[in-house]
Symmetry: C2
Subunit: 147 residues, 2 copies
């Protein structure tokens, strides 16, 4: 959120063959406009788990989706730790014990609350911005400059 360049929400689709099925780290990095370093870091943090072909990392569709979700979470202000918690629990779901599943539901409810609060914040901030905008335009009109 610090960058001024207003990055896109999702990957630059590149409208490429959806059947690629696997990607190099560089491809993925370009897709989502992040550096390879970031992707490696996410792996180290347990968010991605590409397989190797010799030395090189190979990412499949699943990894791409995870990266997408991770970045989305980040844009919403979630920490990598929080994101990992949900993501890994999701993966452990089918054979997860009841305790874990209840915990998961708990976390999800928490996240949902979080989103609701953000929605409210956005509503309020939008209004603030509109107000400031109005005032600025008014001052500009006072200066003879049409806004």
């Amino acid at each position: 959120m610090t960058q001024t360049s207003a990055p896109a929400n999702e990957a630059s689709q590149e409208a490429l063959p959806r059947q690629h099925r696997h990607y190099s780290i560089g491809e993925l990095a370009r897709m989502f406009e992040v550096t390879p370093r970031t992707i490696r870091f996410y792996e180290q943090e347990g968010l991605l788990a590409p397989y190797r072909e010799g030395q090189k990392r190979i990412y499949r569709e699943k990894d791409r989706v995870r990266l997408k979700l991770t970045l989305r979470g980040k844009r919403l202000g979630f920490s990598l730790a929080e994101i990992r918690e949900v993501v890994t629990m999701y993966d452990a779901m089918p054979d997860g014990n009841a305790r874990q599943l209840w915990r998961l539901l708990e976390i999800l409810a928490e996240k949902r609350d979080n989103l609701e609060r953000q929605l409210e914040d956005i509503r309020l901030m939008r209004k603030e911005i509109d107000d400031v905008d109005q005032r600025a335009r008014q001052v500009l009109r006072g200066l003879g400059q049409e806004a």
Copy 2:
């Protein structure tokens, strides 16, 4: 967003005399559930400007509002630097020159875009969460546990 305790959106209103007109740092800190350290830090970063009574900082209504807006901005992932940029330009508005005002409008548009992207992100993430939730409940039902 890292805290698990799901803090409230706004100040705990305490339903107190609105005519207080000024607050100590401790009062403000309790109101917004932050530490005094945080408030002093925001001052140092040019976001707050309380006056002094001897040694002590005294905050007026205006400072309280600024703090509120600052924290809201933070919840939406804006950096203190970004927040300061808007806030200080806002204050300089009445006598601001045209260049500055245009710049302000520019920034506001940027922020608005940001919010729109966040709205979309929230929409998407909500759906993801609901999906995971459904799947988890389903597995739980399979285990004989009613969700």
